[in-house]
């Protein structure tokens, strides 16, 4: 099941499927490790939300997070 990233709740794990939006934004996210296939955990949901991407904490805003489609996975 695909869902936008901002729908995830605290503590949930997910895998990135698609990243939409302006190319510059997609590129910046890829540099930071958010690209199709990567796994992350939601530390704090909401806007801005806090993600743990392979041991590194990233924060992004809800409206931007909605552009990222993810597939929830078991921890």
């Amino acid at each position: 099941m695909l869902m936008p990233l901002d729908m995830l709740r605290a503590g949930e794990w997910a895998e990135v499927e698609e990243v939409h939006g302006l190319p510059a934004w997609v590129g910046r996210l890829a540099e930071l490790g958010i690209r199709p296939g990567c796994r992350f955990q939601v530390v704090r949901p909401g806007s801005p939300c806090l993600l743990n991407v392979s041991g590194c904490k990233l924060c992004l805003r809800g409206e931007d997070g909605a552009q990222i489609l993810v597939r929830p996975v078991p921890a």
Partner: protein, 778 residues
């Protein structure tokens, strides 16, 4: 060009230091270059780069510390400077002989992405794997030899904050410079290279291969904008065709780069890094559970902010008093040692007061920067920005703008300087432009003077003065976010800012790094902004000093004032004696006691004459300022001030306060014939001496009396006072702030814009205040 023989004797290597933000790059830079540092500015951009020097195996090395970046995909001129510098395309620096790529040992997956881009530059690369202690603590095992083999470049483990591995790194840099071989970059799919070659042929371009790659990959990036200017529509078409072809072949940009590079990174990390089976919960995670919590985190943040401001006030105040005390002493010494005349006046009133006006800000700036450095180095700043982002995003800014805005409540100058933590150029500019709207401490004396004179009436509400003061502060708090919102929607409009921020692991800040930041901020302010502020101070002094000749000819005003002062001093004792007698004569005698002796008619006349002599210097001073260049300009501009309810005196005082707002109090004193008034008597009455307090009370009364005589200001005293206060709440009468904006934006356009929009806002605000107040009172 230096002679060749000379260069041969002292060969210098240029080395560039590149890494992600939070890779510990600055710490490594400090460890390598020690105290031999300076700051390099580049025309047309707001970035500055630190430059240092050190000796590697007997060779002098020029080290350039590039701003932290996640990739070489430049999105703005600021980011392009770093790329151009690495390619040797900037006239200021030679092409780096070696590029040092700083990576975080605990986060190689992410940081080696940038390293892979550096391999394309055609210069030897040395990888410095920093923070090996943290990696060990997390149970990571790194095999540096295998990593070097996989990356194809030398790899040196370092722990920059205690100097481990620095020797090995300098040796590796030297060896790489001599070996000279450029590494092989990451292979892209053949279809990509084909498309790049076709693009080159279509344009007949001589771009370096790495920039051609960036042109193809970075949709809407800086290289594309720049090349569109060079080649016009030909480029747009060729580029679109090349990108379409790549997409059809399954290698759409920008995804193709991330895939190719991360595949390469994964291959290298897989063989070189062994991870423990169970990922331990780190200290950072535990602390973050509290500090990023919406309630507890916000509470901690508020406490931290409160402590920070409390300390700025507590610690800066005595230092500021020391500085102004020392300068007062200096002024008195010069005054005593020199003969009167324009030169002495220039030194005492222009230069020494000007220097004082600059240096009193130093303690605030350095203390605030100490805090900012500690908060940033330990990693807390990113958490604060995370917490504040929700509020700040409502006015189009991000959480990083919060601390600069809040700092501006103390003083806009450190606030503007603190915007350096904001990487987004538009956000940073918007924050710089609205920071001076926050009600700074220099506005306080103006508010206190006017509230005391016209709002606080005996018998009136005890709450009113406080309420008005609160209202003045609220003007800043409400107008600043509104202006920021308008700016972000108009002048600084652009693609919606991509807000994604990394929260680095917590680290212990290093005392030497904090001290370095404090001293750096102090120097930058003193040298670059200080000269401009001093010039503005001297200019306004001159406009109020000249012409100094009296219309009757003969002695000039300053000479007449000096003579009048001497005359007043001679008669001082007699005046005191007569005054005492006069006061006693008015006392009611106690029952049975004889009535007190009355002044004789001659004595009464003498007293009147002596009072005139004592008041003469202040009167002459007022007359002189009124006919000075600035006074005349104010008189000519009276029609402009009239709708605000002001007369020309208020107008002149407002104009004369251009170097600094608090100057208005002193200028009022001169114009209302009470002589120089110490600002401190209004801002901090406890510290002022009795004489200063008497002068301050005299000024309040003089302004009241003068306004009473006037039909408008007599009737509408409170609206006029409010109109002046609103004007000062919104205007940018502060040369220091403008000078700092010039310094931070590297352009005169932004301070000019700030001054213009704030003055317009202030005028409209004052106009509305007076006109509405007039309706209410009338």
């Amino acid at each position: 060009m230096p002679p060749l023989a000379n260069t041969m004797q002292n060969p210098t290597l240029t080395v560039a230091l590149v890494g992600n933000p939070n890779a510990g790059k600055s710490t490594l830079f400090n460890a390598l270059s020690g105290l031999r540092q300076r700051v390099g500015n580049y025309p047309g951009v707001t970035v500055e780069m630190k430059k240092g020097r050190f000796t590697a195996d007997g060779v002098e090395v020029d080290l350039i510390d590039l701003p932290g970046t996640y990739s070489l995909a430049a999105r703005s001129p600021d980011e392009m400077v770093a790329v151009d510098l690495l390619l040797g395309r900037r006239a200021e620096e030679p092409k780096p002989a070696v590029v040092v790529s700083v990576v975080d040992a605990t986060n190689l997956d992410r940081h080696l992405y940038l390293t892979s881009q550096l391999l394309d530059l055609g210069a030897p690369v040395v990888v410095a794997v920093n923070m090996i202690d943290a990696a060990n603590a997390q149970g990571l095992t790194l095999d540096y030899a295998r990593l070097a083999e996989k990356l194809g470049v030398p790899v040196v483990p370092v722990q920059a904050n205690n100097g481990t591995g620095i020797d090995a790194l300098t040796k590796a840099i030297r060896a790489a410079a001599e070996g000279g071989a450029a590494p092989r970059g990451v292979a892209f799919p053949p279809a990509f290279d084909e498309a790049a070659n076709e693009l080159r042929a279509a344009l007949g371009s001589d771009l370096p291969p790495v920039l051609l790659r960036r042109l193809l990959i970075d949709v809407g990036g800086y290289v594309e904008q720049w090349q569109t200017e060079v080649h016009g529509p030909k480029l747009t078409d060729a580029l679109a065709a090349a990108r379409a072809k790549l997409a059809a072949a399954g290698h759409a940009v920008p995804g193709v780069e991330a895939r190719a590079r991360f595949a390469w990174v994964r291959g290298a990390v897989a063989v070189a890094v062994a991870r423990p089976a169970v990922k331990p919960v780190t200290w950072t995670d535990r602390i973050d559970a509290v500090l990023t919590h919406r309630f507890w985190g916000t509470l901690v943040f508020l406490v931290v902010m409160f402590l920070m401001f409390q300390s700025i006030f507590l610690w800066a105040k005595p230092l500021m008093e020391e500085i102004s005390g020392a300068l007062d002493w200096c002024g008195k010494k010069v005054e005593g040692a020199m003969d009167g005349g324009p030169l002495r006046a220039l030194l005492v009133d222009g230069v020494i007061k000007g220097v004082g006006g600059v240096q009193v800000f130093l303690p605030q700036i350095m203390i605030l920067f100490g805090f900012v450095a500690v908060l940033e180095d330990c990693g807390y700043m990113a958490r604060a920005a995370f917490l504040m982002d929700r509020v700040m995003s409502k006015c189009g800014l991000s959480g990083k703008s919060f601390i600069p805005m809040l700092s501006s409540v103390a003083c806009a100058i450190p606030g503007v300087m603190a915007t350096r933590v904001i990487e987004n150029r538009r956000d940073r500019l918007a924050t710089i432009l609205v920071a001076p709207l926050m009600s700074c401490s220099a506005r306080l004396p103006v508010y206190v003077l006017l509230i005391g004179a016209f709002v606080a009436k005996p018998g009136g509400s005890a709450w009113l003065p406080g309420l008005v003061l609160f209202g003045m502060y609220m003007i800043g708090f409400t107008v600043a976010p509104l202006v920021a919102l308008v700016l972000k929607k108009t002048l600084l409009r652009g693609a919606p800012p991509v807000f994604v921020m990394e929260l680095p692991a917590y680290r212990r800040p290093k005392a030497s790094a904090v001290a370095r930041r404090m001293i750096g901020a102090g120097w930058a302010f003193t040298l670059r902004a200080g000269t401009i502020i001093l010039a503005a101070m001297v200019l306004v002094w001159a406009l109020l000093y000249f012409p100094a000749s009296h219309p009757d000819g003969g002695d000039t005003y300053p000479q007449r004032i000096e003579k009048a002062e001497d005359a007043a001093k001679e008669k001082e004792d007699r005046l005191k004696e007569l005054k005492e007698k006069d006061e006693k004569s008015k006392e009611k005698p106690e029952d049975g006691a004889p009535p007190p002796p009355q002044l004789t008619e001659d004595e009464a006349k003498e007293l009147e004459a002596l009072e005139g002599v004592a008041g003469l210097p202040d009167m002459l001073n007022g007359e002189w300022k009124r006919q000075s260049a600035l006074g005349r300009a104010g008189l000519a501009m009276e029609p402009v001030f009239r709708p605000l309810g002001w007369d020309w005196k208020i107008g002149v005082a407002a104009m004369a306060s251009f170097p600094a707002r608090e100057v208005i109090v002193g200028t009022f004193g001169l114009l209302y014939d009470v002589g120089e008034v110490d600002t401190k008597a209004f801002s901090d009455p406890k510290k002022a001496d009795a004489e200063a307090k008497a002068k301050a009370a005299g000024l309040t009364k003089a302004v009241q009396d003068d306004w009473k005589k006037d039909p408008i200001r007599g009737k509408y005293g409170a609206p006029v006072a409010l109109s002046i206060m609103v004007f000062f709440a919104l205007c940018c009468q502060c040369a220091a702030t403008l000078a700092v904006i010039k310094r931070e934006t590297q352009s005169w356009a932004w301070p000019a814009f700030t001054f213009a929009y704030m003055t317009a806002l202030a005028y409209v605000g004052a106009l509305a205040t007076f006109q509405i107040g007039k309706l209410i009172v009338g």
